[in-house]
C-alpha cells in the first residue's frame, strides 16, 4: 500500500510524555542493566541526524515525498531521544547536548569519510543506490520497533511501557515509509535488488553499532533478544526483510545475534521482582 505522505506530515508531532508521571521512576527505579539499554537507545535516537546526513548525500532527498518524510522523521527521532533522556534524568543520568558532541567527536575518521564514500557510491550507482538506503532504513526501523516493544513487555514497568509503546507507534509509521519505498524501488530494478542484497548481507549491523562500543551492542542485544522469545522476534524482523523483492532468504539480523554469541534458547533476560510494584 502506498504511504500517504500528506497524512503523515500533517499528523507528525513530538512523542508526548507530559501526561506520564515520571516521578514513578523515583518510587520504582529501573535496574542498571535496563538503564544501560535505555542509554543506548537514547544515543541512537539523538544520532539520527548522522544517518540523515548519509541519506542526504544520495540523490533521494530531491524527491519531494522523501524530503518531506525525512524532515518529520528526523524530528520525531530527536524527540524520542528527549523522552528517553527524561527517563534517564530521573535516574540521575544526564544526557546533554555537549555530551552528544563528545560522542560524535569520538566517531573519528570513519565518520568523516562516510559521506564521501556514500556520495561517491551514490554517484556511481545512481538512483538504484536510493533503494539500498530505503531497505537499510526499513531494517533499522523494524528492529528498533521490535526493541521498544520487547523492552516494554520485558521490564513490566507500567510507566516505561506506556512511553515505549508511544515511541514504538511512531516507529511503525517510519517502517511503513521505508518499507513501501524499498518495495517499490526494488520491484522496479533488478540492479537495485542485487546491490541492496549485497550491501545488507555484507555491511548491515544492529542499529547503533557504528556509534557505540561493541560491549554495549552486545549487552543491548543480549538483554532484549536472548532466549527463545527474543529470537522469535528477530526471526520475524528477518522474515519482513525477506519479503522485499530480491531479498528472499536473508537472515541478517539473526546472523548479527549469532555473531555476538547471543543465546537462541532458554528464558533470556528475566527482570528481578520489583519492590514497589
Amino acid at each position: 500500500m502506498a504511504f500517504d505522505i500528506d497524512k503523515y506530515t500533517a499528523g507528525s508531532k513530538p512523542v508526548a510524555w507530559s501526561d506520564i508521571d515520571l516521578e514513578e521512576f523515583e518510587r520504582d527505579p529501573l535496574p542498571p542493566e535496563t538503564l544501560r539499554v535505555l542509554r543506548y537507545m537514547c544515543d541512537v535516537e539523538y544520532h539520527t541526524v548522522c544517518y540523515l546526513r548519509d541519506l542526504l548525500t544520495t540523490p533521494s532527498y530531491n524527491e519531494p515525498e522523501v524530503g518531506a518524510f525525512m524532515t518529520m522523521w528526523n524530528r520525531e527521532e530527536f524527540w524520542h531521544g528527549e523522552a528517553l533522556a527524561a527517563v534517564l534524568g530521573k535516574h540521575g543520568i544526564t544526557v546533554d547536548f555537549d555530551e552528544l558532541k563528545s560522542t560524535r567527536l569520538k566517531l573519528g575518521w570513519k565518520d568523516r569519510l562516510d559521506p564521501i564514500k556514500q556520495s561517491l557510491l551514490g554517484g556511481m550507482v545512481g538512483k538504484d543506490f536510493v533503494a539500498v538506503h530505503m531497505a537499510w532504513g526499513a531494517v533499522n526501523e523494524w528492529s528498533a520497533n521490535a526493541a521498544y516493544l520487547r523492552m516494554a513487555k520485558l521490564e513490566q514497568h507500567e510507566t516505561l511501557a506506556v512511553l515505549l509503546k508511544r515511541i514504538g507507534a511512531q516507529e511503525t509509521k517510519h517502517v511503513a515509509f521505508y518499507a513501501s519505498q524499498a518495495r517499490e524501488r526494488l520491484a522496479e530494478s533488478r540492479k537495485a535488488q542485487v546491490l541492496t542484497r549485497f550491501v545488507l548481507d555484507r555491511f548491515w549491523g544492529p542499529v547503533g553499532s557504528t556509534i557505540s562500543e561493541e560491549s554495549e551492542v552486545k549487552h543491548v542485544m543480549g538483554h532484549l533478544f536472548a532466549g527463545e522469545e527474543g529470537r522469535k522476534l528477530i526471526q520475524d524482523v528477518d522474515s519482513h526483510i525477506a519479503k522485499l523483492p530480491g531479498m528472499e532468504g536473508l537472515r541478517i539480523v539473526e546472523k548479527s545475534l549469532d555473531k555476538r554469541g547471543i543465546a537462541a534458547e532458554g528464558p533470556g533476560y528475566v527482570p528481578a521482582q520489583r519492590v514497589a510494584a
Partner: protein
C-alpha cells in the same frame, strides 16, 4: 514513485487548514540565552491558518507578489540541500546545533507549505520548479554549488571552527529572508499577516544563530578567518543557485532594489559588522545583495 507531492494538483489541506496558530514562544532561558530545548518544544507546524484566503480572493495578488511567493517557497524548500551541506562537515557533531536544525527544518517545511497554499489560492501550480540547468559562473558560485564530496573534504580540513562560518552565513540568510517577507507584506496587503508571522518565526532562528555566531567568532581567530572567507564567497540568499537567473535578478530588484531596499541591505551590513572579526567583509555582503 506513486503519490508524489509535486504531481498532485491540490492537497486536501489547502481547504482545511489547522484551525488555530500557536503563539510563538520566545525560547529564552532564565539567563537570557537562547533555550534550544524550548525552541524545539514550541516549533510551529502548519501555517496554513495564517493564509488569509478571503483577503486573497477579494483583492487578488499582484503578479510581482505571486512571483516573490513562488521564489520564497522554493528557497524555504531547499532546506535539505542546506542541511546536507552542513551535516557533511563538523557541524553535524555539535548536539546543540543539530537540535536547532531539526526544528528549523521542520518550521521551514511548513512555511513552504503555507506558501503553496497562497499559490493554490490564486490558481498557480504549487509544484516546485524544474531543476535549473546552470553554466559555471564565478568562483563563489561554483563553491556554492559544490557537491557533498567537495564539501566533506573541505569541511574535514577546516574542522570544528567551520561551524562559526555556517552559523554566520545562516544568520545573514535569515536577515535576507526577513527583508524579503517584509517586502512581500508591502507589495501585497493580503499577505501582510502571513509575512509578519514568518518574520516573527524567523526571529527565533536569528536569535539562535546570532548567539552562536557571536560566541564562536569571539572564541577563535581561525573561526573568524574561515567565516570571513565563507562570507566573501557566499551567494545570497543561500539556495539561490537553484533559482533561474531571471528569478535571482527579480528577487534582488524587488527586495533590495528600491531606496528602502538599499537601506535594508545597509542595515544588514551594519549589524553584521558588530560581530567579532567580520567587519571588513560586511560591505561586500551588502554590495552583493543589491542589484
Amino acid at each position: 514513485m506513486t503519490s508524489s507531492r509535486a504531481s498532485r494538483p491540490t492537497p486536501a489541506r489547502a481547504t482545511s487548514p489547522s484551525p488555530t496558530l500557536g503563539p510563538i514562544a520566545t525560547a529564552e532561558a532564565a539567563d537570557g540565552s537562547f533555550d534550544v530545548r524550548e525552541f524545539a518544544r514550541t516549533a510551529q507546524g502548519s501555517q496554513r491558518a495564517a493564509v488569509d484566503l478571503d483577503a486573497i480572493r477579494e483583492h487578488g495578488l499582484p503578479a510581482e507578489a505571486i512571483r516573490l511567493v513562488r521564489i520564497l517557497r522554493d528557497l524555504e524548500r531547499s532546506t535539505l540541500t542546506r542541511l546536507r551541506n552542513l551535516l557533511v562537515t563538523a557541524t553535524h557533531k555539535d548536539g546543540r546545533v543539530t537540535a536547532f536544525l531539526v526544528s528549523w527544518a521542520y518550521e521551514k517545511f511548513w512555511m513552504a507549505d503555507a506558501l503553496d497554499g497562497v499559490l493554490e489560492a490564486v490558481g498557480e501550480e504549487a509544484a516546485g520548479p524544474d531543476p535549473v540547468e546552470h553554466v559555471t559562473k564565478h568562483f563563489g558560485e561554483r563553491m556554492a554549488r559544490r557537491g557533498p564530496v567537495a564539501r566533506a573534504i573541505i569541511g574535514n580540513i577546516a574542522g570544528e571552527q567551520l561551524v562559526a562560518a555556517h552559523v554566520t552565513t545562516g544568520l545573514v540568510d535569515e536577515w535576507i529572508q526577513q527583508a524579503a517577507y517584509r517586502r512581500l507584506g508591502e507589495i501585497a496587503g493580503a499577505l501582510h499577516g502571513l509575512a509578519d508571522r514568518f518574520i516573527e518565526l524567523k526571529q527565533r532562528h536569528v536569535r539562535f544563530l546570532a548567539e552562536e555566531a557571536r560566541r564562536r567568532l569571539a572564541d577563535s581567530a581561525r573561526a573568524r578567518r574561515l567565516t570571513v572567507k565563507e562570507l566573501k564567497q557566499s551567494v545570497w540568499p543561500i539556495g539561490a543557485t537553484r533559482l533561474s537567473d531571471d528569478d535571482r535578478g527579480f528577487l534582488a530588484r524587488t527586495v533590495f532594489g528600491t531606496a528602502e531596499g538599499r537601506a535594508e541591505a545597509g542595515r544588514i551590513s551594519e549589524v553584521l559588522a558588530t560581530f567579532p572579526g567580520v567587519g571588513s567583509v560586511a560591505p561586500t555582503v551588502a554590495a552583493r545583495l543589491t542589484p
